[in-house]
Symmetry: C2
Subunit: 223 residues, 2 copies
């Protein structure tokens, strides 16, 4: 009984994700879904990324939070279109919530849509939003045991951003063990070591992301 | 339809939580349910707490994780009874999972049962496990905006442990704003500022917890 109900919910989400994906495809908008624990630094990474991409990549942001529009207000200051979704208690975004704000953007004028999910290392990864790529953000202050304890996000993500590298020396984290565990879970994942606060490493991540956006544009042009 | 199904699930959990609570009450075992983000330091706080309480309080631990028994192995080394629950994907413990391991403990010989929940700032708080008290652990590295973004845990908890205070100066966290937001959400909550790594502040938390354990023992003796 429970399984049947869950399957129903997932299928409805999958259906809506397919619709979102076709809207993004139509206008060649590369879409990423950023996930990580509360306080891993998703929004700060995003702010630094926006500052680098501005002028080269036309982007917009969807902010997911249970409550408050604190994050959307932070993003707004960087001069890009942003919409806040409040889940009102739910531990993740779903494709329907994303669909509900898509008409507020002019997708034809965008190259990149960034969706920042609710802070949660568990639930969001189970819900396809119609994105091209999932991105994990992990603060090194969370400890080196996290990938093995929460493997699904790392298995499903195209890249993981290891954030707060500037305070690595004040933690007991074994960076090599952390990297090794991530590669065991997902040998194809790209790992970026950054500090969103100092800006360290953000360039490499932004370059990699820009390449993905451009590849999508090229693919489409070639058709 | 969805609401009806959810109500059904919650009622089943509530029913099982009542059973757990009556088992704890029967043997005068004070029970806490520790919750917080992945990497907030729940297990390290617990290890330091156990070392202080050993000899005065007879305690046992239930470790909740999605996968791995890393945390149970850490607790084992401190010489207290411990059982690991792996939720196999679920983002929280429920009362039935806890019930499933209770028969592995000799409750008559315990004063305190500590349940460490899955690392998640959202889902666990919605599931009563039969505990006396919920405890929140928040690492100050998670940022001062977290209570307002994830208020439910702070509203429901009897105490919040602000962990990793030893690296406060390397963050941009406004500690006064953080404390203020927590008190706005829950004026009655007790806030402990600790560093599980250095041991700073753990004594105060352990004393407060010991008082609660002793109060429960007294209440019962008085009956």
């Amino acid at each position: 009984m429970e399984i049947k109900v869950n399957t129903g919910i997932l299928s409805a989400n999958e259906q809506k994700a397919v619709e979102n994906r076709s809207l993004f495809e139509k206008d060649r908008v590369f879409t990423i879904n950023i996930m990580g624990s509360p306080g891993s630094g998703k929004t700060t990474v995003l702010e630094k990324t926006i500052d680098i991409l501005t002028g080269t990549v036309r982007l917009a942001v969807i902010e997911g939070d249970i409550y408050t529009s604190k994050d959307a207000r932070r993003i707004e200051k960087h001069g890009v279109p942003v919409e806040q979704i409040n889940t009102g208690g739910a531990c993740h975004l779903d494709a329907k919530m994303v669909s509900g704000v898509l008409n507020k953007f002019d997708l034809t004028g965008l190259d990149l849509m960034i969706i920042e999910n609710v802070g949660n290392l568990v639930c969001p990864v189970e819900f396809d939003l119609g994105e091209d790529l999932k991105i994990a953000v992990l603060s090194i202050t969370e400890g080196d045991d996290k990938p093995m304890k929460y493997p699904l996000l790392f298995r499903e993500s195209g890249a993981v951003i290891l954030n707060k590298m500037d305070i690595l020396e004040f933690t007991d984290v074994d960076l090599q063990a952390l990297r090794q565990d991530i590669y065991i879970i997902n040998p194809d994942i790209k790992i970026f070591e950054v500090s969103a606060r100092t800006g360290q490493g953000i360039d490499q991540w932004a370059d990699w992301l820009t390449d993905r956006v451009n590849n999508k544009l090229k693919e489409k042009t070639a058709k």
